[in-house]
Symmetry: C3
Subunit: 313 residues, 3 copies
């Protein structure tokens, strides 16, 4: 396992929330909250080159990291490694080492392979830091952090009384896995998960969670709802009958939202499939914190980049 | 209709020249001329994030805006929304709102749908400004402005004695429509339009213009020629017989240019189809102001970005 | 021939190493070494706009130039002219002139056509500088420079006693041609070239070189090995039988490397085809200077950009 915290207690990389000590998670959240509240550090990474190295494309996440890095004064570079013409058949590790040899010190890496980002981090030079922007179905630590920051802003720092439900395709979701790790670490009172059997993981991912296929029941009295995006490929894979069926069973409507607490918040990692997992009325309603999540994403990524890049050397 | 000037008299957005008060148009042109003459404002937008959000690709216009924003000290981001993988099926408005939530304050938006840019601007937060980089066949205000700036540089600020001819595919051209609005607003003495019937609009676009299909007649004694690009798809649509025919009837040659005033200037929004709407000799000749237009484009975009982004908040 | 050094003795462009006076080559190498050793010039190109204009894609080289330009304080723009939608059928020269008219002063140009970059440079305005980032099979001057810088770091500045071998597809390689020009200019003691007959040029490219098809013999007592990438298209063109055959005859293994001097260094311009022209053991071994080459690439490009852009105006 690649080390996130080195022997001197400095954060080397941000690879997952599963093995991140809770005091680190808390420190990142507090720093992110400061940025969200307007703290600035325009010279924190002055002259430092940061590369977004995406082996799987994601315009949105890349943009959020770029904004975060710019606000810290970093130089930004982008390497879209998802096209073969970019890598010309070289190994991922060679691509990584090459850019590192150019003098890039910070890497924001996304990869479709589970563990692939940590594998690259394991080969990084002493002065190089890696932030995982999503690997396979495993980890998406900055998404987990921004979700926790959003929860804190809405419900306070004490999660012990909270009831949170995660809804949808948890099986294929690194967002859900990172949220689960973070919710457990922060002592969330009750974690419910809800979705069709075909979209729920059958390993120990859901350990300690209340699992149900009944969406109405899952919503009863919850403080927060984390809706997941339904990838359309789940239909072609036969895991979901139809968008209509899915919406009927697991689509969040205003009526259903009424089962949650009156001040429950609705979250979604985006991009939303309006009319599938969520209706327009809920997505744009007073209880939606979806855009706040996006704003918090930049703050969290500033905290993450600052943590790992002021730690090295 | 989305407001460009707010109640306090500040320019909120730049969406079209049609509804822009003439004193604003003039103010933008004067500021652009200052930039063209070497004025600098390297800190005007320091720390402000500007995103080029193109739902229809255009490398050239994007580059021009990027240069303009960089010279004002802004942070630049690019979101190429013309590929479905970038938007993953989300609505244009969700894409816009997401990037806005990240803290981007300035948007440079291009869209193939008429009115689509103004529609996004209508949903913008109070602190967010939108510059229309072209929507459908409707508006391309910065192109209209740069054409006016070029005309002023060549012919002075008083347009009342000028005879200007616009030649080619006016029907599908937002450039032509923006030029027409601007020429009228600035009191151009005589506006002629010329092209095959199939490429001329049949609505009130050409109100007040002298319309002709005879290119030679249209050129007689004009001060300026605005040549339009002939999109090759007009052939497949059957609107134009062949490139050869088009060139014979509406291609600008040195000989034809002789019918215009001796000091007439030739303009083209680019990219040029050499040998179709314009010959090499004219494109590269002494009367060509094509590259000056390109230079003016950066100055105009600096003025536009400065106007809308120093106006907000 | 486009002039690289103007009448006042300033370096206008960097187009090739073939016609670059050796004192200039040496000056660039010495400045690059200073950058490689930590010299900084963060304001050298402050406010100067540099555009990477690639008519043939290359993410790696583009990234290296971008990093170099950023470290000198330049504004960076990218124009990927390898897709037709970007250029919309306009000529390369019009594309170049357009971006120049926007105020870009530095161009980093790659093109698949031999001489195409010099042709654009010949049309550049007085205040515009062009750096050739690779044209056809002809020139790749910054690669040649970075290879020389690497050789100097490993073997000292006096090349008169050195034996260097270049291995592989020299016929299609601008890297090899630039290396050959530089090695000759710097007085390399013995230049050997080795590859199958089908991949060796039959013109005067190899003048003064010891040519052999026997890889083992070619390695005897050499100080440095420059391995070339085998493009997979050479198979489909029938120039190489199979990857296996090529590896058997010209693949660098640890055993073969033993024929070179004990302190011989191994170089490769990347990206490497591991298992084809080079084995993992050699690529990652103690004698590999491949990543140092990449690092030196940024230093060399800083020196090149600084030289041509502080020379103009």
């Amino acid at each position: 396992m690649t080390v996130q915290i080195d022997n001197a207690g400095r954060q080397r990389h941000l690879l997952d929330l599963q093995t991140l000590p809770v005091d680190r998670l808390d420190a990142l959240l507090r720093r992110a909250q400061a940025f969200a509240s307007g703290a600035q550090a325009p010279q924190a990474l002055a002259g430092v080159a940061v590369c977004t190295l995406f082996f799987e494309p994601s315009t949105r996440t890349r943009l959020s990291f770029q904004l975060a890095a710019q606000r810290l004064g970093a130089h930004i570079l982008n390497f879209d490694a998802s096209t073969s013409s970019a890598t010309k058949g070289e190994t991922d590790l060679d691509t990584f080492r090459n850019i590192q040899a150019m003098g890039v010190r910070g890497f924001v890496v996304r990869h479709k392979g589970d563990g692939a980002v940590a594998a690259l981090a394991a080969e990084a030079d002493a002065g190089t830091a890696v932030v995982n922007a999503g690997d396979g179905r495993s980890h998406h630590p900055t998404q987990g952090l921004l979700d926790m920051l959003t929860l804190r802003q809405a419900k306070g720092d004490d999660f012990s009384k909270l009831k949170v439900v995660i809804v949808g395709d948890l099986k294929h979701s690194r967002v859900a896995r990172s949220d689960l790790h973070a919710l457990r670490a922060l002592g969330c009172g009750e974690i419910r998960v809800c979705g069709p059997q075909s979209l729920l993981p059958d390993d120990d991912t859901l350990q300690g969670c209340v699992v149900t296929h009944d969406f109405d029941a899952a919503l009863d009295g919850v403080d927060a709802l984390m809706m997941l995006r339904l990838q359309r490929e789940r239909m072609t894979e036969g895991l979901v009958e139809s968008l209509e069926d899915y919406h009927r069973d697991y689509g969040l409507t205003t009526q259903r939202l009424g089962r949650a607490k009156a001040d429950a918040i609705v979250m979604h990692p985006g991009p939303m499939n309006r009319g599938v997992e969520i209706t327009d009325a809920v997505a744009d309603g007073a209880q939606s914190w979806v855009l706040r999540q996006v704003s918090n994403g930049v703050a969290v990524r500033m905290a993450a980049l600052e943590a790992v890049l002021s730690a090295v050397e």
